[in-house]
């Protein structure tokens, strides 16, 4: 994170941006609450000075640090608890970032988004890093500024290097600089497509073929969700998500699909493997045009699952959905 090759400018000034592109995506490295609050409030100060709409989507406690700095002006800023809105990193783009931008179409929007916390586990991390890379593709050409704070001392060297690869701009101790390792966002996103850990031997499998098999897929899915201890509402949402994936397999691939289900680390895991390939890396992260009849399946899945991992292999695609189980009652 201490690249020395990039030029530095004061963060308070207009940060460097490619000509003709008003999109600004900055990784903010902070070392303590003071640096966090200072960096974030400076960013919001620029938004408020322009009278632009601003959103703070960070874990709730961090939001309070920012709110305290803003004082009365905090009322002009929208706040979202990222631990809820962004529980699944796959839905931050469509339902937080793009939703806010679209709600203020025609205006420059400013968003602080904090998707990667040190407490995001190893299973979640690739999905978070991929999300950061895809922001650059989804917002290319849009009039927006996004600031992503990172708790530098708590992150390992690989995660810090990934911040530099996924953010064209970086800011540290009040100094802004261009990233020396920022690359093509689609290629960078693809680099986070890591093979999924092998399901446990106890996982249950249900092969299916064609749309006529969908009711059977749902029967299999619902029985395991209920046995796993999900409440009624979550079972219904799980069913919608799993059915959308199985429908994609049945309608858009020629081969069979397999649903595999197991429990791990307080999560119920549902994985669909099929012979299909998802052509557009933004599928599931960017809403299709209004009126389009296709392209919403993965968006809905991202909205309903607590974590979605996708792995594209030579033989097809694996999509793994995680659903948090309620904590066991004593």
């Amino acid at each position: 994170m201490t690249s020395t090759s990039a030029s530095e400018t004061p963060a308070g000034a207009q940060a460097p941006a490619p000509a003709g592109d008003r999109f600004e995506h900055t990784g903010l490295f902070y070392r303590d609450e003071e640096q966090y609050a200072t960096g974030c409030s400076a960013f919001l100060g620029r938004a408020l000075a322009c009278g632009d709409p601003a959103l703070v989507a960070v874990p709730e406690g961090n939001g309070e640090l920012i709110r305290a700095r803003l004082g009365a002006e905090g009322d002009l800023v929208a706040f979202a608890d990222m631990t809820r809105a962004g529980r699944n990193p796959g839905r931050i783009l469509p339902s937080v970032l793009l939703a806010f931008a679209d709600a203020h179409a025609g205006r420059r929007v400013w968003v602080i988004g904090e998707p990667i916390r040190p407490d995001r586990g190893a299973v979640e991390y690739p999905a978070c890093a991929r999300h950061e890379a895809l922001i650059n593709a989804a917002f290319a050409g849009r009039d927006a500024a996004i600031l992503c704070p990172y708790d530098a001392p708590a992150l390992d060297a690989e995660a810090l290097a990934d911040v530099e690869r996924t953010h064209p701009l970086l800011e540290e101790s009040g100094r802004a600089r261009a990233s020396a390792t920022y690359g093509d966002p689609i290629e960078t996103a693809a680099s986070f497509d890591r093979p999924l850990p092998v399901p446990p031997a106890t996982a249950e499998r249900y092969p299916f073929l064609g749309v006529g098999a969908l009711p059977g897929v749902r029967d299999f899915a619902i029985a395991r969700a209920q046995a796993g201890g999900l409440d009624e509402e979550r079972v219904a949402e799980l069913l919608i998500a799993v059915n959308e994936l199985a429908t994609n397999t049945a309608e858009y691939t020629t081969g069979p699909g397999t649903l595999t289900v197991w429990a791990e680390d307080g999560m119920l895991v549902y994985q669909i493997d099929d012979t299909g390939h998802i052509a557009d890396p933004l599928t599931g992260h960017v809403p299709p045009p209004a009126g389009a009849s296709r392209g919403r399946g993965l968006l809905i899945v991202n909205e309903l699952a607590d974590l979605v991992r996708v792995h594209r292999g030579p033989a097809g695609t694996s999509i793994r959905l995680h659903f948090q189980l309620p904590a066991p009652t004593a």
């Binding site: 929208a78 809105a85 839905r91 937080v96 939703a99 006529g212 219904a236 809403p287 399946g297 809905i300």
Partner: protein, 285 residues
């Protein structure tokens, strides 16, 4: 073991029965016809096969077919009614003919009409046979009255599997020889009188999407502009996928009448918001 899959069918059902050999076809037909006799229904068997052959087949499948035919309870016809003589399939005329057959059966004192449609002709060169998928979707509109039920016979040896999947999706429910004995029709759609509208019972997914789309279009088209409040009752809809949720919302937004969706579950409501592209879903409340 309770009633068989075939015996569980009832008026309003429009079922695609895909079979692999004549033994399977005849086993299902025997049960289906005898259930119609018990239910005091008029039975019409549409097929290109000559009636004397069909009579023999039914007789050998445990149906007292000759007596039923003599008494007029069992009739044989050509599907599509009348038009196939000219080797031209006209789905609109056929759907009109359905309504006349239903009225005739009811005025003859039957409780309802039970139909068998052998669709083998649609695999041949008949002009208009390519419209069978459209026809099967549109004909759902005569079923929602609850005065008719049909078992459509599709011989898998005659139809391309991809085409048969699309045709099956035009039916609210489908069965094949592997169907579990506990099967029930995936979706039932019933017209309601007061309030005027449609009641959906069961599950709506990709396997019956075309049937739902055509029926919703029919009901909303009927009531459009009538100034009446129309109700889409989804309390009995145990499952709806994203495409079905979109169809329901489109139906609700497509007519100048006042359309209400009632009995919406929490998860269906959430799904509707998700497919409706609410501008700011998930963002701060």
């Amino acid at each position: 073991m309770g009633p068989s899959v075939i015996e569980r069918l009832r008026p309003g059902d429009h079922v695609c029965w895909a079979f692999d050999d004549d033994g399977q076809r005849l086993a299902a037909l025997g049960e289906y016809v005898n259930a119609g006799v018990r239910a005091d229904q008029k039975i019409i068997y549409f097929s290109d096969t000559p009636p004397d052959i069909l009579l023999g087949e039914l007789q050998n499948s445990g149906v007292d077919a000759r007596r039923l035919a003599d008494s007029g309870r069992l009739q044989f016809g050509l599907l599509p009614i009348g038009r196939l003589h000219q080797r031209m399939f006209d789905p609109v005329a056929v759907i009109d003919a359905w309504r006349q057959e239903i009225d005739a059966a009811r005025s003859d004192g039957f409780s309802s009409l039970r139909v068998i449609g052998d669709m083998a002709w649609a695999s041949g060169p008949t002009a208009g046979a390519d419209r069978v998928q459209w026809y099967e979707a549109q004909v759902n509109r005569v079923f929602t009255s609850g005065h008719v039920m049909a078992l459509c016979l599709y011989d898998r040896r005659l139809f391309d599997s991809g085409r048969l999947v699309r045709i099956a999706a035009a039916h609210p429910a489908s069965i094949d020889p592997t169907t579990n004995w506990a099967w029930r029709p995936l979706l039932r759609m019933e017209r309601t009188g007061r309030p005027p509208g449609l009641r959906l019972i069961g599950e709506a997914d990709a396997s019956n999407r075309e049937a739902l789309a055509a029926t919703l279009a029919e009901v909303t088209g009927d009531l459009s502009g009538a100034g009446t409040q129309m109700t889409l009752d989804v309390a009995g809809l145990r499952f709806a996928d994203a495409a079905a949720a979109r169809l329901l919302m489109t139906a609700a937004g497509s007519t100048s009448s006042d359309v209400r969706i009632t009995g919406c579950s929490v998860s269906l409501g959430k799904l509707m918001r998700l497919v409706g592209g609410e501008p700011y879903a998930g963002a701060p409340a």
